[in-house]
């Protein structure tokens, strides 16, 4: 199957291409954007993903609060736990709520703009910030050393010659942009970073990142420095296109942004929104907010819904809500999604300094019009007894999220080159299952008949070796419902009968996992 060039600018003729492309159906959202392109917008850009790093290790249990675990949570982290009556409700998820600072994200969730993935981490948590950050950026295993970034590998697959000959007529714009000065390891290709940072070496417009450009002294040194700064800035390959984009979208449109300099994350996302609104074809943006390493004074003593963590989450929520609104007002919401991530979570128990220490998994938020709204996965089970360093175990590998972004958002199929192994796709994005349905039929021969199901159906799959197989049923949000089958199956074709019994009508997914390699299929129940 030929790889789809997800990042490359589609030519005008692409607008008239059939929606079945290279054997699998295109995300239905593309349909809207393709039609949209015929209208007012001259922007032909593909999908955009904004990655928001919460640096330091975010306390997931105080971010997405498992209300059904409240009793034990109060005994383990009473000094910092958010009072139950302050937790923000999420529509359709009575057992789970948001930190009271996150009204912006609550509204987005309730408006169907957010997919929350529960308990994301990686096997064999390292607990070191640096190592864990590098693991997230390189998509390596815990004990594996990788010196290229996962986004760098994805981009290099599409643009193998970069940076030589770039920019060019086909790719006039940066492939990836980091707002801020530190270029993330995630962008690293085999020899060169595949993206750029705005602010690095003072090469972007003072109006954007003036805080790193200090006035040159009135000396011969200062005179020469000013000259070099100017030429360096103008010689940045992408200076002109970035400047043009920023100038064509001179203002942010959303009134929801906090005033400038009050919320560093919002300031970064303002720039991203302007560049997207201004027509830059860059597909990947990364921004970052630090301060989540809350070993002490995570909350205000006595008022645990206030304090450092509350302020951080408020900034995150406020910034994302304003950005989403901005993107909508700019007419780009069909093509832009974003996600948060943090290098790890924190301990279940509070420590003696009204804080928490390094822990394993934490939830992450994927937002945008293109996501399947809902919560993927279950609340973690909080045991009644635990030691001080106990944490929330991983339920979803972060690379499942990456795989979903690469396949279902960017339309890439060379996931093994990028992530080194197969990971189950999560139903984060709308239309995701449709794409998989086509794809997986070729690979695994998984199907069920009849479909839709009235009383029972037979699931057929092929095992290519003696395999340990599990078949799980999930609802439309990807939540586990029941186990259909589990056990060792020899090489060959197998059939498993499934009785509907009292399953309500609706859309379901069933997942066949062979030796950890998963295939998810849609099943309609009448």
């Amino acid at each position: 199957m030929k790889r789809r060039n997800f990042l490359r600018t589609a030519g005008a003729s692409a607008a008239f291409m059939p929606f079945i492309h290279n054997g699998f159906s295109v995300n239905p959202l593309s349909k809207n954007s393709l039609f949209g392109m015929l209208g007012a917008s001259a922007n032909l850009s593909g999908k955009v993903m904004v990655f928001i790093e919460l640096s330091g290790g975010n306390d997931g249990l105080n971010t997405l609060i498992p209300l059904d675990q409240y009793t034990y949570l109060s005994s383990h982290r009473g000094s910092i736990l958010i009072p139950e009556n302050k937790v923000l409700d999420l529509n359709g998820a009575p057992d789970t709520g948001l930190h009271p600072s996150m009204t912006g994200l609550q509204e987005m969730f309730n408006n169907g703009l957010m997919s929350i993935v529960q308990n994301v981490g990686y096997p064999q948590q390292d607990y070191s910030h640096f190592r864990s950050m590098d693991i997230w950026q390189t998509a390596s295993d815990s004990g594996q050393y990788v010196d290229t970034g996962w986004l760098g590998r994805a981009l290099q697959g599409e643009y193998p010659g970069f940076p030589e000959g770039f920019p060019n007529a086909d790719s006039p714009d940066p492939l990836a942009i980091q707002i801020g000065s530190i270029l993330p390891l995630a962008y690293m290709g085999t020899a060169f970073p595949m993206g750029m940072s705005l602010g690095n070496a003072d090469n972007f417009d003072d109006a954007f990142l003036s805080d790193f450009v200090e006035p040159a002294p009135a000396t011969p040194y200062g005179d020469e420095l000013e000259y070099i700064r100017l030429v360096q800035k103008q010689s940045q390959e992408y200076y002109e296109v970035i400047k043009t984009a920023a100038e064509s979208q001179p203002d942010n449109l959303s009134p929801l942004y906090p005033p400038q300099y009050e919320n560093y994350l919002a300031d970064q996302l303002r720039i991203v929104a302007r560049l997207i609104g201004g027509g830059l074809q860059t597909a990947i943006y990364t921004v970052s907010i630090g301060g989540f390493d809350t070993h002490s004074e995570q909350v205000e003593a006595g008022t645990p819904d206030q304090g450092n963590h509350a302020n951080l989450l408020r900034r995150v929520s406020e910034a994302i809500a304003a950005f989403q609104d901005d993107i909508r007002l700019m007419g780009k919401e069909d093509d832009v999604a974003g996600m948060t991530y943090s290098e790890f979570g924190r301990t279940i128990a509070a420590n003696g300094s009204i804080g928490t220490d390094h822990g394993a998994a934490a939830p992450l938020f994927v937002f945008g019009k293109g996501v399947n709204p809902g919560i993927i996965g279950e609340n973690a089970q909080i045991p009644s007894n635990l030691n001080n360093s106990a944490d929330v175990p991983m339920a979803h590998d972060f690379r499942q999220v990456y795989a979903s972004v690469l396949q279902d958002w960017f339309g890439l199929t060379n996931l093994n080159d990028i992530l080194f192994q197969d990971f189950d796709i999560l139903p984060i994005f709308k239309g995701a299952s449709a794409a998989r349905e086509e794809l997986n039929r070729d690979v695994f021969g998984v199907s069920n008949y009849p479909n839709p199901v009235r009383t029972s159906t037979t699931i057929t799959f092929t095992s290519f070796s003696n395999a340990y197989v599990t078949i799980n049923l999930m609802d439309a949000q990807g939540r586990f419902i029941l186990k259909i089958a589990e056990g060792n199956y020899p090489t060959g074709m197998h059939q498993v009968r499934f009785d509907r019994s009292n399953l309500p009508s609706g859309t379901y997914f069933y997942q066949v996992k062979l030796n950890g390699m998963g295939v998810m299929k849609k099943m309609l129940v009448f």
Binding site: H129, T219, Y221, I228
Partner: protein
Amino acid sequence: MTVSTLNRRAFFQKLRSESPEKMEKRMGIFGEVKPVFPLGNQELPLVPPPTNTLTLNGGLEPYTGPWDYEQAAHLLRRTTFGVKKNDLDLLMGMTMDEAVNHILMDLPEPADPINNYSDDDPTNQDDYDDPAVPAGQTWVNANYDGDAEGYRIESYRGWWIDLMVNQEANIREKMTFFWHNHFATQTAAVFYGKVNHRHNKLLRTHTLGNFKEFTKEVTIDPMMLFYLNGYLNVKDAPDENYARELQELFTVGKDNPNHYTEDDVVAAARVLTGWSIDWNNFNTTIPSIFNAGAHDIGDKQFSSFYGNAVITGSFDGDAELNALLDMIFQKNEVAEYLVRKLYRWFVYYNIDAAAEQNVIQPLAQLFRSNGYEIKPVMETLLKSTHFFDAVNKGCFIKTPVDIVVGTLRSFNISIPSITLWDDFVMKSYLRYFHSVMQMLPGDPPNVAGWQAFRQVPQYYRMWINGDTARNRNFYIAAMFSGNLASSNDNILRIDPIAFASQFSDPSNPVTLVDEIVKLLLPQPISDLKKTLLKSILLSGLPSDSYWTIAWFDYINSPNDPMSVAVVNTRLTNMIAYVLLLPEYQLA
């Protein structure tokens, strides 16, 4: 026999006849095809010339201020390529007087360049098996070989670059380059390796010697005789090329509007008729020779600029040459012209009225009164209050050699070469980078040298345009990439951990950033920027201890790839950030 350009053409044709794969292999990602950048040819931004709100203070009186890191680093930045921590430590242990004397110390002559272009791998189609010179032996005594000269010239150029990379805390390499810019010649015009090498030896033996004697030797040096057609200058067909540049570019200059005349050019050309190449001994010692039969024995009348001097014609070419130089070197303009060039090479391009009066004029006077000895001039300048004036520090825009060679030196990198062929390939990378930054050693743009030292009013700023600014930073990126390789084991690159290890306490992110910045940048940077650099080491985390722990993890398990990667990644980002700052372009 003449050295034709055909051989050069053949050499480059041979290079171009390589298969694309081979070319790619040899050049790595730096193939000859240059990226197409939309801004590549944009006009230079219009920045007003220096405002000179502050002029350089002080005159030639000896500097008596503190001798500290700042002064020692400044001395090294201006007299060597790049600054090495070891050199700094050495000079810090001396007084200012001792340090300058050390910088000006005579050094033994280097060994001759060798054949590094014959690979013993029979499948290598890119090398040249020199029938006259075995691999590893010097070719400077071998006969002319049209097929070999291109390789020998690259061997010569690489030898020179290598001398600069491995130089000591001594002015010789920067001074040799000064003379190369002054008595400019081009390998591309005289495509004969040993003539170039012999010329280079002449430059380095006279670096701090007597300028008048030096000028005489250059005048009859075969390289110059070829380059400016002196060998074709005969009485029946005088060639004025050298006679003009001798006055315009090498000695009196044109700073004084009342300068030598066109008639003086003709008269000087007549004085120099008959100096040529000794073709009989051409292949052995490449001597020059005076052919009395080709010499114009008439009297040579000079203009009022030279006091209407007459050089009496004779068959004694040497005596006439001496008389010509005596006449020229009586002009005050010679010392002024050369001192201004030295000033622009070592101090700053802008010479305001105060500098002219307090520095140029007294130095020119000193130069004349010492019979054109260069060393006392350099010693006086480098020990002066003016040289160490704070306003003077950091205003020199680095030349491409400062960037390419200086970066290697600051990171203690020798050109890696497991085999001789590795050496050749590595040096071809360095040739490439010098070339795209517009300063290839051995090939100035023309006889006037590089524009950055003469083009009013831009001067140093000529180095920095949209294209070269990118190439300067591309070199930095390449030095971290691991792509500058001749084999899997022979890689030219910065080792950030080794670099960091030389500082006082690499586990302390505050002092580490501070010491790295002090070494690599010519002026202090703000605390805000240092905090930013530290935050790169800390990946944005608030506590310094995270870096300290990571560093000791590495120290305790130096062979664990993940412990290494954690510090290596962050050091790379931090150091690259410093090297990509505009401040790094200044010295």
